[in-house]
Symmetry: C2
Subunit: 108 residues, 2 copies
DNA sequence: TGACTATATAACGTTATAGTTATATAGTCA
DNA sequence: TGACTATATAACTATAACGTTATATAGTCA
């Protein structure tokens, strides 16, 4: 779950598209494959999913014959916000939010 | 300055390091090369810089014999915040900031 | 002009990525 | 068990990325 792996995972348009799908709802591998029907093969999607899981951006759970995937929002937001805070002066206001989110989490 | 090019640019650790340098101050190509002394050659840095410029994350200006580089903070924050808003439910609060920043800019 | 400095480009090898098809694995159900 | 479905893995090809060294370009200055 290093920043390295996360940025690497984000560098692919199909993977970002998968993340966008998963942001709406968890999905099985098959459902995701269906969204790429005619565009990309099942094994290709399977590999993208494993890159995403390996980056820590996504979880994976086998249920019966299906494999469910879902977003880990904290991994994404955490890495990007941290990076923005480091690199982008204009983003400093975000630190406030980020700190507030951490506090909310701690208190919950 | 597409999201594609920006994420591609961000996928490299040396390039992220360069961005971090530039977030503190503008620098000449030579100064950046010096920071990678013993790690990476001058031509390698030159290529990273051209990827960064091509992505729109960085500007470039020739002054005399030197070439100065600097961050374009809006390009970075814009793309990442937009992406976060799309993909990451937890990040919705950020939209507020993003809207506020846009307003500030408009009014200035 | 000629020597020097700063930066970019060319040409090249190596490794990584992204896709393909074919096949293996594992779960379901009659 | 046997047929079927869902997913992953293997083996492969093509292309792109990243680094290197050598060289070109363009600006400075004596």
């Amino acid at each position: 779950m290093t920043a390295d792996k996360i940025f690497e995972a984000l560098s692919s348009a199909p993977r970002r598209r998968i993340l966008a799908f998963l942001s709406k709802t968890d999905m099985t591998a098959g459902e995701i494959v269906a969204r790429f029907s005619g565009i990309m093969s099942q094994p290709a999607i399977s590999k993208h999913l494993s890159v995403l899981e390996n980056s820590g951006l996504v979880w994976r759970e086998k249920r019966g014959q299906n494999v469910h995937y879902g977003l880990r929002p904290d991994a994404l937001a955490g890495t990007l916000v941290q990076f923005l805070a480091q690199v982008c002066p204009r983003s400093r206001p975000f630190r406030r939010d980020s700190a507030a989110a951490a506090k909310r989490k701690k208190e919950s």
